[in-house]
């Protein structure tokens, strides 16, 4: 395959090529606009903070949410871990009841499994099938 003159990429579900316009937007932040968004006591930091808040508005708009509802994470795996484990932490029940679907992404199923281990959560995985064999289902593979 590496000898094919022009490889064809048909794996957009695993990862999409980065849009050149996106790269163009990012590059200044790997150059002169390097400030820490938390350093609001000088202009470099304030400029970085403004860029983060601008992006927050853009992401909110994409999904019809409010900017203050957006929590940036390192990716969807962290977002799903945060949603499931973070919400369970505030549930009053000592053994939370979790309903999910057997076809959920590994990072959802594994987060729920962690709740089963740590909190004795009762997990109902819907989808008309038995809970899948974990050693098979949770193996490594592209997101």
């Amino acid at each position: 395959m590496t000898n094919t003159p022009r490889p064809i990429y048909l794996d957009y579900q695993a990862s999409t090529p980065c849009d050149p316009r996106v790269i163009e937007t990012m590059l200044p932040f790997f150059g002169e606009r390097f400030g820490n968004p938390h350093s609001v006591n000088h202009r470099h930091g304030r400029e970085a903070e403004a860029a983060v808040e601008h992006a927050r508005g853009q992401v909110a708009e994409l999904i019809g949410a409010e900017a203050r509802e957006i929590v940036f994470t390192s990716g969807a795996t962290e977002a799903n871990n945060l949603a499931i484990k973070g919400a369970a932490r505030f549930l009053k029940e000592r053994r939370p009841h979790v309903i999910s679907c057997v076809t959920e992404h590994k990072c959802v199923l594994e987060s729920v499994r962690r709740l089963e281990e740590r909190r004795g959560a009762r997990h109902l995985a819907t989808g008309g099938q038995q809970w899948p064999d974990r050693s098979e289902r949770l193996g490594r593979g592209p997101g």
Binding site: A14, N36, S39, G45, S74, V108, L138, P142
Partner: protein, 377 residues
């Protein structure tokens, strides 16, 4: 363009051009590093090159490197992933990402120089029935004070304790050799060494039981799930290689820093250099003039185009004085007067000149007001 001086490297260092080029290059790579096709394999190769460079910077095997979203995640992963029933002891001057990572950690006090109280640590370990996890930073972000990790590790070994070391501020400024240090886990961050923000690593032997924080796919040897931040990691790798080669530059930076402190002292003999009595990083200066608040200085310096911090960037915006300075026994007023000036790879004598000039103007301007307020002083 107006004259500016960036002297806030401990908050974030300007990215090195070669690291920026590595990020830009990786952004054009298509593919998920876990995919088995050619695109994925190229992404994987880029990832593994970076892993080797980061491992080499701290003299650890590549298999020990777990890439994270930064120093904060690395510290959280270390504390929560290694605690597992162990009693957790942290120094009182740790970064908030260590202090806040886990509930119920006991704090080991600092001495007036900012160094961990080893006698107290020994007592705490001796009084501990369960095995402990100790987390002590290699160098402090606010003062640059270097901690005696060798002594901490020796005590830990006597008591069967694990040691995590937050080396985020030390790496690239002083030589860090994980084997020499003898610590079990070490946190590093890319943007403190001239790499991009949003990427770091926890370095811990593959054989060490480390419970993951993020669960899902089997990335990072099952220690950290989630598709890897390839552009960030590529930039981290490039920055790590440069930072390792640039350790020779440390004496030049120390000369700039010492010159800066001497010139402040020349203008204002009452200047206090915090942590000057002990070993410090070559790039960091935490200075205070009693009665001249950090807020006034930082704002005035910003107007003059000079970027520095009051305490650590993470505490900026909060009124509370630095927990590090308070742990060193400084009073509230003294702590509120401290600013942090931090230099790095692109710092030049002109930056120091600009800072000293601007600082001197604010000091003189505020001098009359201070004398009026405190005639006894």
């Amino acid at each position: 363009m107006t004259r500016t001086a960036y002297l806030d490297y401990n908050a974030s260092a300007p990215i090195r051009p070669q690291a920026a080029a590595a990020v830009a290059q990786a952004l054009t790579l298509t593919g998920n590093a876990s995919s088995v096709h050619g695109f994925g394999r190229r992404a994987r190769a880029c990832l593994e090159d970076a892993r080797e460079a980061v491992a080499a910077l701290v003299k650890a095997p590549p298999s020990a490197v777990v890439f994270t979203s930064g120093g904060t995640e690395a510290n959280n992963l270390a504390l929560r992933g290694l605690a597992q029933g162990r009693r957790v002891l942290v120094s009182a001057g740790e970064h908030p990402s260590v202090l806040e990572a886990i509930d119920g950690a006991a704090k080991v006090p600092l001495d007036p120089d900012g160094v961990i109280d080893l006698a107290r640590l020994a007592e705490m370990l001796a009084g501990e029935p369960q095995p402990a996890l100790i987390s002590v930073m290699l160098a402090n972000n606010e003062t640059g004070v270097i901690q005696p990790l060798d002594a901490v590790v020796a005590l830990a070994r006597q008591h069967g304790a694990l040691v995590h070391c937050d080396a985020v501020q030390a790496v690239g400024k002083i030589a860090v050799d994980m084997t020499d240090l003898g610590v079990d886990a070490l946190s590093v961050s890319a943007h403190k060494i001239g790499g991009p923000q949003g990427v770091g690593a926890l370095v811990a032997a593959e054989s060490l039981a480390l419970a993951p924080l993020l669960r899902g796919g089997g990335q990072e040897r099952r220690r950290r799930a989630g598709t890897e931040n390839l552009p960030g990691i590529a930039g981290f790798g490039a920055a790590a290689a440069l930072a390792a080669a640039d350790l020779d530059d440390a004496p030049r930076i120390a000369v700039l820093r010492d010159d800066l402190e001497q010139r402040l002292h020349g203008q204002a003999p009452e200047v206090v250099v915090i942590g000057a009595g002990t070993a410090r990083l070559p790039n960091t200066s935490c200075v205070a003039v009693p009665g001249l608040t950090a807020e006034t200085l930082v704002m005035g310096l910003d107007l003059a185009g000079v970027a520095v911090s009051a305490g650590s960037a993470c505490s900026s915006g909060k009124v509370a004085p630095s927990h590090v300075l308070r742990a060193m026994g400084l009073g509230e007023a003294e702590a509120a007067a401290a600013i942090r000036v931090s230099l790095g790879w692109a710092s030049a004598p002109a930056d120091v000149d600009h800072f000293v000039e601007a600082w001197g103007e604010i000091y003189t301007r505020c001098g009359a007001a201070r004398r009026l307020q405190s005639p006894a002083a």
